[in-house]
Amino acid sequence: MTTDLIIFLGLGFVALATAISMLASRNAIYSALFLVMNFITVAVLYLLLNAAFIALVQVTVYAGAIMVLFLFVIMLLGAEHVEASPGLPWQGPVAVLLGLILAGEFGLLLFGREGTLAQDLQTAVEGFGSPASVGLELFRNYLIPFEITSVLLLVAMVGAIVLTRRERKESR
Protein backbone atom coordinates (compact mmCIF):
# COMPACT_ATOMS: atom_id res chain seq x y z
CA MET A 1 0.00 0.00 0.00
CA THR A 2 2.87 2.37 0.71
CA THR A 3 3.93 2.78 -2.93
CA ASP A 4 0.38 3.71 -3.81
CA LEU A 5 0.28 6.18 -0.97
CA ILE A 6 3.50 7.86 -2.08
CA ILE A 7 2.27 8.12 -5.67
CA PHE A 8 -1.08 9.42 -4.44
CA LEU A 9 0.51 12.08 -2.24
CA GLY A 10 2.83 13.15 -5.05
CA LEU A 11 -0.03 13.46 -7.51
CA GLY A 12 -2.18 15.22 -4.94
CA PHE A 13 0.58 17.74 -4.39
CA VAL A 14 0.91 18.35 -8.15
CA ALA A 15 -2.85 18.70 -8.51
CA LEU A 16 -2.98 21.26 -5.70
CA ALA A 17 0.05 23.16 -6.96
CA THR A 18 -1.32 23.43 -10.50
CA ALA A 19 -4.74 24.47 -9.20
CA ILE A 20 -3.24 27.24 -7.05
CA SER A 21 -0.96 28.37 -9.87
CA MET A 22 -3.95 28.49 -12.16
CA LEU A 23 -5.71 30.88 -9.78
CA ALA A 24 -2.61 32.92 -9.05
CA SER A 25 -1.20 33.52 -12.53
CA ARG A 26 -1.79 36.92 -14.06
CA ASN A 27 -1.73 35.65 -17.62
CA ALA A 28 -4.91 33.90 -18.73
CA ILE A 29 -3.02 31.61 -21.14
CA TYR A 30 -0.83 30.38 -18.28
CA SER A 31 -3.95 29.84 -16.19
CA ALA A 32 -5.46 27.71 -18.95
CA LEU A 33 -2.27 25.65 -19.27
CA PHE A 34 -2.10 25.08 -15.53
CA LEU A 35 -5.69 23.87 -15.65
CA VAL A 36 -4.75 21.44 -18.43
CA MET A 37 -1.96 20.08 -16.23
CA ASN A 38 -4.40 19.80 -13.37
CA PHE A 39 -6.85 17.80 -15.50
CA ILE A 40 -4.08 15.44 -16.60
CA THR A 41 -2.97 14.90 -12.99
CA VAL A 42 -6.54 14.09 -12.00
CA ALA A 43 -6.65 11.63 -14.92
CA VAL A 44 -3.61 9.85 -13.49
CA LEU A 45 -5.42 9.65 -10.15
CA TYR A 46 -8.30 7.89 -11.93
CA LEU A 47 -5.76 5.54 -13.46
CA LEU A 48 -4.54 4.68 -9.96
CA LEU A 49 -8.12 3.78 -9.09
CA ASN A 50 -8.08 1.21 -11.90
CA ALA A 51 -10.43 3.32 -14.02
CA ALA A 52 -8.36 3.64 -17.20
CA PHE A 53 -11.38 4.40 -19.35
CA ILE A 54 -12.52 7.34 -17.24
CA ALA A 55 -8.93 8.57 -17.01
CA LEU A 56 -8.53 8.75 -20.78
CA VAL A 57 -11.98 10.26 -21.27
CA GLN A 58 -10.93 12.93 -18.79
CA VAL A 59 -7.87 13.71 -20.90
CA THR A 60 -9.70 13.58 -24.23
CA VAL A 61 -12.76 15.60 -23.28
CA TYR A 62 -11.60 17.98 -20.56
CA ALA A 63 -7.94 18.56 -21.41
CA GLY A 64 -8.27 17.97 -25.15
CA ALA A 65 -11.60 19.55 -26.06
CA ILE A 66 -13.02 21.86 -23.41
CA MET A 67 -9.70 23.52 -22.68
CA VAL A 68 -9.08 24.10 -26.38
CA LEU A 69 -12.40 25.94 -26.39
CA PHE A 70 -11.23 28.00 -23.39
CA LEU A 71 -7.95 28.74 -25.13
CA PHE A 72 -9.85 29.95 -28.18
CA VAL A 73 -12.05 32.18 -26.04
CA ILE A 74 -9.00 33.69 -24.35
CA MET A 75 -7.24 34.26 -27.67
CA LEU A 76 -10.45 35.47 -29.25
CA LEU A 77 -10.98 38.20 -26.72
CA GLY A 78 -7.31 39.13 -26.82
CA ALA A 79 -7.53 39.22 -23.04
CA GLU A 80 -4.40 37.33 -22.04
CA HIS A 81 -3.27 39.89 -19.54
CA VAL A 82 -5.93 40.24 -16.92
CA GLU A 83 -6.02 43.62 -15.28
CA ALA A 84 -6.16 43.51 -11.50
CA SER A 85 -9.85 44.23 -11.21
CA PRO A 86 -11.29 45.58 -7.96
CA GLY A 87 -13.77 42.69 -7.84
CA LEU A 88 -17.26 42.72 -6.48
CA PRO A 89 -17.60 44.09 -2.94
CA TRP A 90 -19.42 41.08 -1.52
CA GLN A 91 -17.15 38.55 -3.28
CA GLY A 92 -14.59 38.17 -0.48
CA PRO A 93 -16.95 37.50 2.46
CA VAL A 94 -19.09 35.11 0.41
CA ALA A 95 -16.01 33.18 -0.70
CA VAL A 96 -14.82 32.85 2.90
CA LEU A 97 -18.27 31.70 4.02
CA LEU A 98 -18.60 29.09 1.27
CA GLY A 99 -15.07 27.89 1.95
CA LEU A 100 -15.86 27.42 5.64
CA ILE A 101 -19.04 25.48 4.82
CA LEU A 102 -17.08 23.20 2.48
CA ALA A 103 -14.39 22.65 5.10
CA GLY A 104 -17.08 21.84 7.65
CA GLU A 105 -18.63 19.28 5.33
CA PHE A 106 -15.25 17.66 4.72
CA GLY A 107 -14.63 17.52 8.46
CA LEU A 108 -18.02 15.98 9.10
CA LEU A 109 -17.47 13.32 6.45
CA LEU A 110 -13.94 12.49 7.57
CA PHE A 111 -14.29 12.53 11.34
CA GLY A 112 -17.99 12.84 12.16
CA ARG A 113 -19.39 9.55 11.00
CA GLU A 114 -17.28 6.63 12.05
CA GLY A 115 -16.72 4.01 9.43
CA THR A 116 -17.98 5.67 6.27
CA LEU A 117 -14.73 6.74 4.73
CA ALA A 118 -12.33 5.02 7.07
CA GLN A 119 -13.32 1.50 6.12
CA ASP A 120 -11.32 -0.47 3.59
CA LEU A 121 -12.70 -0.43 0.11
CA GLN A 122 -13.85 -3.65 -1.43
CA THR A 123 -11.53 -5.24 -3.94
CA ALA A 124 -12.60 -4.36 -7.46
CA VAL A 125 -14.36 -7.14 -9.33
CA GLU A 126 -12.71 -8.71 -12.35
CA GLY A 127 -12.98 -6.45 -15.39
CA PHE A 128 -13.92 -3.41 -13.32
CA GLY A 129 -13.57 -0.20 -15.26
CA SER A 130 -12.92 -1.96 -18.55
CA PRO A 131 -14.54 -0.38 -21.61
CA ALA A 132 -16.82 -3.38 -22.10
CA SER A 133 -18.13 -3.19 -18.54
CA VAL A 134 -18.61 0.58 -18.87
CA GLY A 135 -20.54 0.03 -22.10
CA LEU A 136 -22.75 -2.69 -20.62
CA GLU A 137 -23.43 -0.68 -17.49
CA LEU A 138 -24.22 2.39 -19.57
CA PHE A 139 -26.74 0.60 -21.76
CA ARG A 140 -28.21 -1.67 -19.12
CA ASN A 141 -28.72 0.60 -16.11
CA TYR A 142 -28.20 4.11 -17.39
CA LEU A 143 -29.96 3.93 -20.73
CA ILE A 144 -32.32 6.85 -20.13
CA PRO A 145 -29.67 9.23 -18.79
CA PHE A 146 -27.56 8.27 -21.79
CA GLU A 147 -30.34 9.09 -24.21
CA ILE A 148 -31.08 12.35 -22.36
CA THR A 149 -27.40 13.20 -22.75
CA SER A 150 -27.81 13.15 -26.52
CA VAL A 151 -30.74 15.56 -26.27
CA LEU A 152 -28.70 17.73 -23.91
CA LEU A 153 -25.85 17.83 -26.40
CA LEU A 154 -28.32 18.71 -29.15
CA VAL A 155 -29.67 21.59 -27.05
CA ALA A 156 -26.11 22.77 -26.41
CA MET A 157 -25.46 22.78 -30.13
CA VAL A 158 -28.62 24.72 -30.92
CA GLY A 159 -27.87 27.14 -28.09
CA ALA A 160 -24.37 27.81 -29.37
CA ILE A 161 -25.70 28.60 -32.83
CA VAL A 162 -28.49 30.85 -31.58
CA LEU A 163 -26.18 32.83 -29.32
CA THR A 164 -23.40 33.34 -31.83
CA ARG A 165 -25.84 34.31 -34.59
CA ARG A 166 -27.40 37.02 -32.46
CA GLU A 167 -23.95 38.30 -31.64
CA ARG A 168 -23.02 38.45 -35.27
CA LYS A 169 -26.14 40.43 -36.17
CA GLU A 170 -25.41 42.94 -33.44
CA SER A 171 -21.83 43.44 -34.51
CA ARG A 172 -22.87 44.39 -38.02
Binding site: L56, G64, V68, M75
Partner: protein
Amino acid sequence: MDIPHLVEWTIESIVIVVGLIAGFAYLTLFERKILARIQVRIGPNRAGPWGLLQPVADGIKLIFKEELIPNRADKLLFVLAPVITVVPALIVLAVVPLGPDMMIFGHNVTLGIAGDVNVGVLYIMAVSSIAVYGIAIAGWSSSNKYALMGGLRATAQMISYELALGLAFVGPILLANSMNLMDIVNAQRGLLGWYIWLQPLGFIIFLLAGIAEVNRDPFDMPEAEQELTAGYHAEYSGMKFALMFMAEYDKMIAVSMIAATLFLGGFWGPFVEQIPLLGPVYLLIKTIFLLFVMIWMRATLVRFRYDRLMAFGWKVLLPLALVNVVVTAVIVLVGG
Protein backbone atom coordinates in the same frame (compact mmCIF):
# COMPACT_ATOMS: atom_id res chain seq x y z
CA MET B 1 9.14 -5.13 -10.33
CA ASP B 2 12.19 -7.33 -10.84
CA ILE B 3 15.48 -6.30 -12.36
CA PRO B 4 15.19 -8.20 -15.71
CA HIS B 5 11.88 -6.40 -16.29
CA LEU B 6 13.45 -3.02 -15.68
CA VAL B 7 16.32 -3.84 -18.01
CA GLU B 8 13.85 -4.92 -20.67
CA TRP B 9 11.87 -1.69 -20.28
CA THR B 10 14.94 0.50 -20.41
CA ILE B 11 16.29 -1.19 -23.53
CA GLU B 12 12.92 -1.15 -25.26
CA SER B 13 12.19 2.50 -24.42
CA ILE B 14 15.57 3.63 -25.67
CA VAL B 15 15.27 1.54 -28.83
CA ILE B 16 11.85 3.05 -29.57
CA VAL B 17 12.93 6.65 -28.92
CA VAL B 18 16.15 6.30 -30.91
CA GLY B 19 14.17 4.52 -33.62
CA LEU B 20 11.76 7.44 -33.84
CA ILE B 21 14.58 10.00 -33.98
CA ALA B 22 16.39 8.03 -36.68
CA GLY B 23 13.05 7.40 -38.38
CA PHE B 24 12.47 11.15 -38.52
CA ALA B 25 15.94 11.80 -39.92
CA TYR B 26 15.66 9.19 -42.65
CA LEU B 27 12.05 9.97 -43.44
CA THR B 28 13.16 13.47 -44.46
CA LEU B 29 15.72 11.92 -46.80
CA PHE B 30 13.14 9.40 -48.09
CA GLU B 31 10.74 12.24 -48.77
CA ARG B 32 13.32 14.39 -50.54
CA LYS B 33 14.43 11.46 -52.68
CA ILE B 34 10.90 10.50 -53.70
CA LEU B 35 9.83 14.08 -54.36
CA ALA B 36 12.94 14.52 -56.48
CA ARG B 37 12.22 11.35 -58.44
CA ILE B 38 8.61 12.36 -59.05
CA GLN B 39 9.81 15.75 -60.29
CA VAL B 40 12.50 14.07 -62.46
CA ARG B 41 15.37 15.31 -60.31
CA ILE B 42 18.00 13.30 -58.44
CA GLY B 43 17.68 14.66 -54.93
CA PRO B 44 20.38 14.74 -52.25
CA ASN B 45 23.29 12.61 -53.45
CA ARG B 46 26.47 14.31 -52.21
CA ALA B 47 26.70 13.40 -48.53
CA GLY B 48 27.62 9.74 -48.55
CA PRO B 49 26.39 7.10 -50.99
CA TRP B 50 22.84 7.96 -52.23
CA GLY B 51 22.91 10.93 -49.85
CA LEU B 52 22.64 8.60 -46.88
CA LEU B 53 24.65 10.94 -44.66
CA GLN B 54 22.50 13.95 -45.54
CA PRO B 55 20.31 13.77 -42.37
CA VAL B 56 23.46 13.53 -40.23
CA ALA B 57 24.90 16.62 -41.92
CA ASP B 58 21.61 18.46 -41.45
CA GLY B 59 21.51 17.52 -37.77
CA ILE B 60 25.06 18.70 -37.12
CA LYS B 61 24.37 21.94 -38.94
CA LEU B 62 21.24 22.61 -36.90
CA ILE B 63 22.98 22.02 -33.56
CA PHE B 64 25.61 24.65 -34.37
CA LYS B 65 23.11 27.24 -35.57
CA GLU B 66 22.40 30.31 -33.53
CA GLU B 67 18.96 30.17 -31.98
CA LEU B 68 16.93 33.31 -31.77
CA ILE B 69 14.19 34.06 -29.31
CA PRO B 70 12.31 37.15 -30.45
CA ASN B 71 12.30 40.01 -28.00
CA ARG B 72 8.54 40.21 -27.85
CA ALA B 73 8.05 36.48 -27.38
CA ASP B 74 6.90 34.85 -24.17
CA LYS B 75 10.29 33.26 -23.52
CA LEU B 76 9.29 30.39 -21.25
CA LEU B 77 6.45 29.11 -23.43
CA PHE B 78 8.49 29.74 -26.57
CA VAL B 79 11.15 27.29 -25.37
CA LEU B 80 8.63 24.83 -23.96
CA ALA B 81 6.43 24.66 -27.07
CA PRO B 82 8.75 22.41 -29.12
CA VAL B 83 9.02 20.00 -26.19
CA ILE B 84 5.25 19.94 -25.73
CA THR B 85 4.88 19.30 -29.46
CA VAL B 86 7.40 16.48 -29.64
CA VAL B 87 6.43 14.46 -26.56
CA PRO B 88 2.92 13.42 -27.76
CA ALA B 89 4.42 12.43 -31.12
CA LEU B 90 6.85 10.13 -29.29
CA ILE B 91 4.48 8.60 -26.74
CA VAL B 92 1.44 8.01 -28.94
CA LEU B 93 2.97 4.81 -30.29
CA ALA B 94 3.16 3.34 -26.78
CA VAL B 95 -0.05 1.36 -27.28
CA VAL B 96 0.84 -0.07 -30.70
CA PRO B 97 1.94 -3.72 -30.52
CA LEU B 98 5.12 -4.04 -32.56
CA GLY B 99 5.24 -7.82 -32.84
CA PRO B 100 4.02 -11.08 -31.31
CA ASP B 101 5.40 -12.25 -27.98
CA MET B 102 8.71 -13.98 -28.50
CA MET B 103 11.55 -15.62 -26.65
CA ILE B 104 14.83 -13.72 -26.59
CA PHE B 105 17.69 -15.26 -24.58
CA GLY B 106 15.18 -17.55 -22.89
CA HIS B 107 13.17 -14.55 -21.74
CA ASN B 108 9.58 -13.89 -22.82
CA VAL B 109 9.60 -10.45 -24.41
CA THR B 110 6.60 -8.39 -25.48
CA LEU B 111 7.38 -5.98 -28.29
CA GLY B 112 5.82 -2.59 -27.83
CA ILE B 113 5.19 -0.78 -24.60
CA ALA B 114 1.56 -1.21 -23.73
CA GLY B 115 0.02 -2.95 -26.73
CA ASP B 116 -2.25 -4.96 -24.48
CA VAL B 117 -4.09 -2.26 -22.49
CA ASN B 118 -7.84 -2.45 -22.81
CA VAL B 119 -8.24 1.23 -23.74
CA GLY B 120 -5.52 1.46 -26.41
CA VAL B 121 -7.61 3.27 -29.02
CA LEU B 122 -8.81 5.83 -26.49
CA TYR B 123 -5.21 6.44 -25.48
CA ILE B 124 -4.44 7.39 -29.09
CA MET B 125 -7.42 9.78 -29.05
CA ALA B 126 -6.30 11.31 -25.77
CA VAL B 127 -2.69 11.84 -26.82
CA SER B 128 -3.63 13.29 -30.20
CA SER B 129 -6.03 15.71 -28.51
CA ILE B 130 -3.18 16.90 -26.27
CA ALA B 131 -0.92 17.36 -29.31
CA VAL B 132 -2.91 20.48 -30.21
CA TYR B 133 -1.39 22.46 -27.35
CA GLY B 134 2.20 22.46 -28.54
CA ILE B 135 1.18 24.08 -31.81
CA ALA B 136 -1.26 26.55 -30.25
CA ILE B 137 1.37 27.59 -27.69
CA ALA B 138 4.08 27.90 -30.34
CA GLY B 139 1.85 30.19 -32.36
CA TRP B 140 0.81 32.29 -29.40
CA SER B 141 4.16 32.63 -27.63
CA SER B 142 6.02 33.77 -30.77
CA SER B 143 4.12 37.05 -30.67
CA ASN B 144 4.18 37.10 -34.42
CA LYS B 145 1.05 37.64 -36.48
CA TYR B 146 1.87 34.95 -39.00
CA ALA B 147 2.68 32.48 -36.25
CA LEU B 148 -0.47 33.25 -34.32
CA MET B 149 -2.59 32.95 -37.45
CA GLY B 150 -0.90 29.66 -38.34
CA GLY B 151 -1.27 28.34 -34.81
CA LEU B 152 -4.97 29.18 -34.68
CA ARG B 153 -5.61 27.71 -38.11
CA ALA B 154 -3.71 24.56 -37.23
CA THR B 155 -5.61 24.17 -33.97
CA ALA B 156 -9.00 24.66 -35.61
CA GLN B 157 -8.07 22.23 -38.37
CA MET B 158 -6.76 19.59 -35.98
CA ILE B 159 -9.85 19.62 -33.79
CA SER B 160 -12.10 19.49 -36.85
CA TYR B 161 -10.42 16.42 -38.29
CA GLU B 162 -10.02 14.78 -34.91
CA LEU B 163 -13.76 14.06 -34.95
CA ALA B 164 -13.57 12.11 -38.20
CA LEU B 165 -10.45 10.38 -36.88
CA GLY B 166 -12.21 9.36 -33.66
CA LEU B 167 -15.26 8.06 -35.52
CA ALA B 168 -13.05 6.12 -37.95
CA PHE B 169 -11.74 4.19 -34.93
CA VAL B 170 -15.26 2.95 -34.15
CA GLY B 171 -15.35 0.63 -37.18
CA PRO B 172 -12.43 -1.61 -36.17
CA ILE B 173 -13.61 -1.50 -32.54
CA LEU B 174 -17.06 -2.74 -33.59
CA LEU B 175 -15.52 -5.56 -35.62
CA ALA B 176 -13.05 -6.67 -32.96
CA ASN B 177 -15.24 -5.79 -29.96
CA SER B 178 -12.19 -4.40 -28.25
CA MET B 179 -10.22 -1.20 -27.87
CA ASN B 180 -7.16 -3.30 -27.18
CA LEU B 181 -4.86 -2.93 -30.18
CA MET B 182 -3.39 -6.40 -29.64
CA ASP B 183 -6.91 -7.86 -29.95
CA ILE B 184 -7.59 -5.77 -33.05
CA VAL B 185 -4.37 -6.99 -34.67
CA ASN B 186 -5.01 -10.60 -33.70
CA ALA B 187 -8.47 -10.42 -35.26
CA GLN B 188 -6.86 -9.65 -38.65
CA ARG B 189 -4.76 -12.74 -39.33
CA GLY B 190 -4.37 -13.60 -42.98
CA LEU B 191 -4.62 -11.19 -45.89
CA LEU B 192 -8.39 -11.60 -46.20
CA GLY B 193 -8.87 -10.81 -42.53
CA TRP B 194 -7.52 -7.29 -42.87
CA TYR B 195 -10.07 -4.71 -41.83
CA ILE B 196 -9.41 -2.61 -44.92
CA TRP B 197 -11.66 -5.04 -46.84
CA LEU B 198 -14.47 -4.62 -44.34
CA GLN B 199 -13.80 -0.94 -43.67
CA PRO B 200 -12.60 0.58 -46.95
CA LEU B 201 -14.39 3.86 -46.23
CA GLY B 202 -13.15 3.85 -42.64
CA PHE B 203 -9.59 3.39 -43.85
CA ILE B 204 -9.81 6.29 -46.30
CA ILE B 205 -11.40 8.53 -43.66
CA PHE B 206 -8.72 7.58 -41.17
CA LEU B 207 -5.88 8.24 -43.60
CA LEU B 208 -7.24 11.62 -44.75
CA ALA B 209 -8.06 12.77 -41.24
CA GLY B 210 -4.66 11.54 -40.09
CA ILE B 211 -2.88 13.56 -42.77
CA ALA B 212 -4.91 16.62 -41.79
CA GLU B 213 -4.07 16.01 -38.15
CA VAL B 214 -0.38 16.06 -39.04
CA ASN B 215 -0.91 19.28 -41.08
CA ARG B 216 0.57 17.86 -44.23
CA ASP B 217 -0.19 18.60 -47.83
CA PRO B 218 -2.91 18.87 -49.14
CA PHE B 219 -4.01 20.00 -45.68
CA ASP B 220 -0.93 22.09 -44.87
CA MET B 221 -2.76 25.40 -44.85
CA PRO B 222 -1.39 26.33 -41.41
CA GLU B 223 2.12 26.29 -42.85
CA ALA B 224 1.31 27.81 -46.23
CA GLU B 225 4.66 29.32 -47.21
CA GLN B 226 3.22 31.89 -49.55
CA GLU B 227 0.85 33.55 -47.15
CA LEU B 228 1.95 32.63 -43.64
CA THR B 229 5.70 32.24 -44.28
CA ALA B 230 5.79 29.10 -42.13
CA GLY B 231 2.81 29.34 -39.84
CA TYR B 232 3.22 28.51 -36.19
CA HIS B 233 6.97 27.87 -36.41
CA ALA B 234 7.83 31.06 -38.31
CA GLU B 235 10.01 32.38 -35.46
CA TYR B 236 11.70 29.08 -34.64
CA SER B 237 15.28 28.44 -35.65
CA GLY B 238 18.02 25.87 -35.10
CA MET B 239 17.29 22.88 -32.92
CA LYS B 240 13.88 24.12 -31.79
CA PHE B 241 12.82 24.28 -35.42
CA ALA B 242 14.22 20.78 -35.88
CA LEU B 243 12.09 19.55 -32.97
CA MET B 244 8.95 21.04 -34.53
CA PHE B 245 9.88 19.24 -37.71
CA MET B 246 10.60 16.04 -35.85
CA ALA B 247 7.15 16.17 -34.25
CA GLU B 248 5.54 16.45 -37.67
CA TYR B 249 7.48 13.55 -39.17
CA ASP B 250 7.11 11.32 -36.11
CA LYS B 251 3.38 12.00 -36.22
CA MET B 252 3.44 10.88 -39.87
CA ILE B 253 5.12 7.66 -38.77
CA ALA B 254 2.57 7.28 -35.97
CA VAL B 255 -0.43 7.80 -38.26
CA SER B 256 0.96 5.28 -40.76
CA MET B 257 1.76 2.71 -38.11
CA ILE B 258 -1.63 3.07 -36.42
CA ALA B 259 -3.40 2.82 -39.80
CA ALA B 260 -1.37 -0.32 -40.58
CA THR B 261 -2.32 -1.74 -37.17
CA LEU B 262 -6.02 -0.97 -37.40
CA PHE B 263 -6.65 -1.75 -41.05
CA LEU B 264 -3.72 -3.64 -42.60
CA GLY B 265 -3.27 -6.48 -40.16
CA GLY B 266 -0.53 -4.88 -38.06
CA PHE B 267 2.46 -7.15 -37.65
CA TRP B 268 0.80 -10.24 -39.16
CA GLY B 269 2.12 -11.65 -42.41
CA PRO B 270 3.34 -14.95 -43.86
CA PHE B 271 5.44 -17.11 -41.48
CA VAL B 272 5.13 -14.77 -38.50
CA GLU B 273 3.90 -17.66 -36.38
CA GLN B 274 7.05 -19.66 -37.17
CA ILE B 275 9.50 -16.75 -37.02
CA PRO B 276 8.10 -14.06 -34.70
CA LEU B 277 10.97 -11.73 -35.55
CA LEU B 278 9.33 -11.17 -38.95
CA GLY B 279 6.44 -9.35 -37.21
CA PRO B 280 8.13 -5.99 -36.72
CA VAL B 281 9.55 -6.25 -40.26
CA TYR B 282 6.07 -6.61 -41.77
CA LEU B 283 4.77 -3.74 -39.67
CA LEU B 284 7.67 -1.60 -40.86
CA ILE B 285 7.02 -2.49 -44.51
CA LYS B 286 3.34 -1.57 -44.21
CA THR B 287 4.24 1.67 -42.44
CA ILE B 288 6.76 2.62 -45.11
CA PHE B 289 4.19 1.91 -47.80
CA LEU B 290 1.68 4.28 -46.16
CA LEU B 291 4.41 6.90 -45.70
CA PHE B 292 5.13 6.60 -49.41
CA VAL B 293 1.44 7.21 -50.13
CA MET B 294 1.55 10.38 -48.02
CA ILE B 295 4.63 11.69 -49.82
CA TRP B 296 3.10 10.77 -53.15
CA MET B 297 0.01 12.82 -52.22
CA ARG B 298 2.22 15.77 -51.33
CA ALA B 299 3.90 15.56 -54.73
CA THR B 300 0.60 15.27 -56.58
CA LEU B 301 -2.03 17.40 -54.87
CA VAL B 302 -2.25 21.13 -54.38
CA ARG B 303 -3.14 22.83 -51.12
CA PHE B 304 -6.77 23.28 -50.11
CA ARG B 305 -8.09 26.77 -49.57
CA TYR B 306 -8.81 27.19 -45.86
CA ASP B 307 -12.60 27.55 -46.12
CA ARG B 308 -12.76 24.48 -48.36
CA LEU B 309 -10.51 22.59 -46.00
CA MET B 310 -12.86 23.23 -43.07
CA ALA B 311 -15.87 22.47 -45.25
CA PHE B 312 -14.31 19.17 -46.33
CA GLY B 313 -13.75 18.16 -42.73
CA TRP B 314 -17.18 19.11 -41.44
CA LYS B 315 -19.42 18.53 -44.44
CA VAL B 316 -17.79 15.53 -46.08
CA LEU B 317 -15.58 13.54 -43.72
CA LEU B 318 -17.64 13.90 -40.53
CA PRO B 319 -21.01 12.87 -42.08
CA LEU B 320 -19.27 10.04 -43.98
CA ALA B 321 -17.69 8.85 -40.75
CA LEU B 322 -21.09 8.87 -39.02
CA VAL B 323 -22.64 6.93 -41.91
CA ASN B 324 -19.74 4.49 -41.78
CA VAL B 325 -20.38 3.83 -38.08
CA VAL B 326 -24.10 3.23 -38.59
CA VAL B 327 -23.62 1.02 -41.66
CA THR B 328 -20.91 -1.03 -39.93
CA ALA B 329 -23.13 -1.44 -36.87
CA VAL B 330 -26.05 -2.67 -39.00
CA ILE B 331 -23.88 -5.07 -41.00
CA VAL B 332 -22.31 -6.52 -37.84
CA LEU B 333 -25.78 -6.88 -36.35
CA VAL B 334 -27.20 -8.67 -39.39
CA GLY B 335 -24.11 -10.64 -40.35
CA GLY B 336 -22.75 -11.50 -36.93
